[in-house]
């Protein structure tokens, strides 16, 4: 495969790039990545968690599954999953961010939300990172879909539906390979991941032409 680009997003920053159909995005990380995708020629065809889950009949994003747009158009498929067997990728949550952190702190529910009481909250989060990364493309926050939260392994009680964050992350960075099904605008946030021991790390993004 020919490598077209190789960039690393530092902790708690956003990243965006354009891809052509057939190209592969390799994300290498051991931290939560909030990832979204849009049809490059029509941003209204944005990734949507609901049709994606309805097609795969699974609440987790697995190797072989395709992220779909709201209208059901295939956007990007996970062809390699370095987290498989270790943990699951989440399709329940949205982006963390200033508002969410502030509300959790105000309500005294930081522990429930982030596994910590008197923690220093970051001044921004994934909502801000993705908004800033997608601003040059003219996509406002309310049009940014709730992402697939890669490496966000959740503890979900099947009976009650209760969800809890876990500390499960890879011990060393692993690769996730995503194959573009059409020309795309892709973006992600390297989450500050306050729930984990690492408190957020960098994410390496490589684009390949097979």
């Amino acid at each position: 495969m020919k490598i077209l680009s190789d960039e690393t997003a530092p902790r708690n920053t956003g990243w965006a790039a354009e891809m052509e159909a057939g190209q592969i995005l390799r994300l290498t990380a051991r931290t939560i990545i909030d990832f979204v995708a849009f049809d490059r020629h029509d941003y209204a065809e944005a990734f949507d968690q609901a049709p994606t889950k309805e097609r795969s009949n699974c609440i987790y994003f697995r190797r072989g599954d395709t992220l779909l747009s709201r209208s059901g158009a295939p956007l990007i498929t996970m062809i390699e999953d370095g987290f498989e067997g270790l943990g699951t990728h989440d399709l329940q949550f949205g982006m963390c961010g200033r508002d969410r952190h502030r509300r959790a702190a105000e309500e005294g529910r930081l522990d429930e939300y982030l596994h910590g009481h008197d923690m220093e909250l970051p001044d921004h989060g994934c909502a801000e990172n993705l908004t800033w990364a997608l601003e040059p493309y003219g996509i406002p926050y309310e049009n940014i879909p709730s992402p697939v939260n890669l490496f966000q392994n959740m503890d979900i009680d099947q009976e009650t539906g209760c969800m809890a964050r876990t500390q499960i992350r890879p011990d060393a960075p692993v690769d996730l390979d995503l194959l573009a099904e059409r020309d795309l605008l892709v973006a992600f946030s390297a989450c500050p991941d306050k729930a984990s021991k690492t408190k957020g790390l960098e994410v390496r993004a490589r684009i390949y032409q097979p």
């Binding site: 309805e54 009949n57 699974c58 609440i59 949550f93 949205g94 926050y141 309310e142 209760c162 969800m163």
Partner: protein, 180 residues
């Protein structure tokens, strides 16, 4: 509580109406009902399923939970869930009757691309421990009520969208607005 308005919605039909802050929207039914809500002053602020799941830290909405907007503001409080103990409402799926919902929301110039994912009342999906989703149609034997209190002035909309496999395919539902 005083009844302000009440309407019966036939299968495959929908409803849109204003619910003022403090009023209770009571939805009484047995078959799947897809529900959306918008801030009346700014419909770009919409009920969002992911923000709602995060706030409640739960996949299934029930009594004691709140519905949150994309902008992280509270919109509704779920006061009573007549389906609790029998089955589960849904926050995973897209619209089952998108055309009918768009027709109901025509006064807001709503497009398919802008139509947010709904809350699916009575959908009762089976979500297994391995994450697999299966339909599990099983509505309540008699109509039950879901009470939603508006925390801000809202425009609410719903479509009575029975799936062929539910036990109550074709049941009407009732929408009641109450003043406490």
């Amino acid at each position: 509580m005083n009844v302000i308005a009440e309407e019966t919605i036939a299968p495959n039909k929908g409803w849109m109406g204003n619910v003022d802050k403090g009023q209770v929207l009571r939805i009484t039914g047995r078959s799947v009902i897809d529900f959306n809500a918008f801030k009346r002053d700014d419909i770009k602020e919409y009920f969002d399923t992911a923000r709602t799941r995060i706030y409640n830290l739960n996949m299934y909405p029930t009594a004691g939970h709140r519905l949150f907007s994309k902008q992280n503001n509270p919109m509704m409080r779920l006061l009573a869930d007549g389906f609790a103990g029998t089955g589960l409402h849904d926050l995973q799926s897209g619209h089952g009757c998108a055309d009918a919902m768009l027709e109901v929301l025509a006064p807001l110039n709503m497009t398919f691309e802008d139509l947010p994912d709904p809350m699916g009342l009575f959908r009762n999906l089976d979500i297994a421990q391995d994450g697999r989703i299966r339909p599990r149609p099983k509505g309540p034997p008699e109509p039950v009520a879901i009470d939603l209190e508006a925390e801000i002035d809202l425009v609410c909309a719903l479509v009575n969208c029975p799936a062929a496999e539910t036990s109550a395919a074709g049941a009407p539902c009732t929408v009641t607005i109450l003043n406490p």
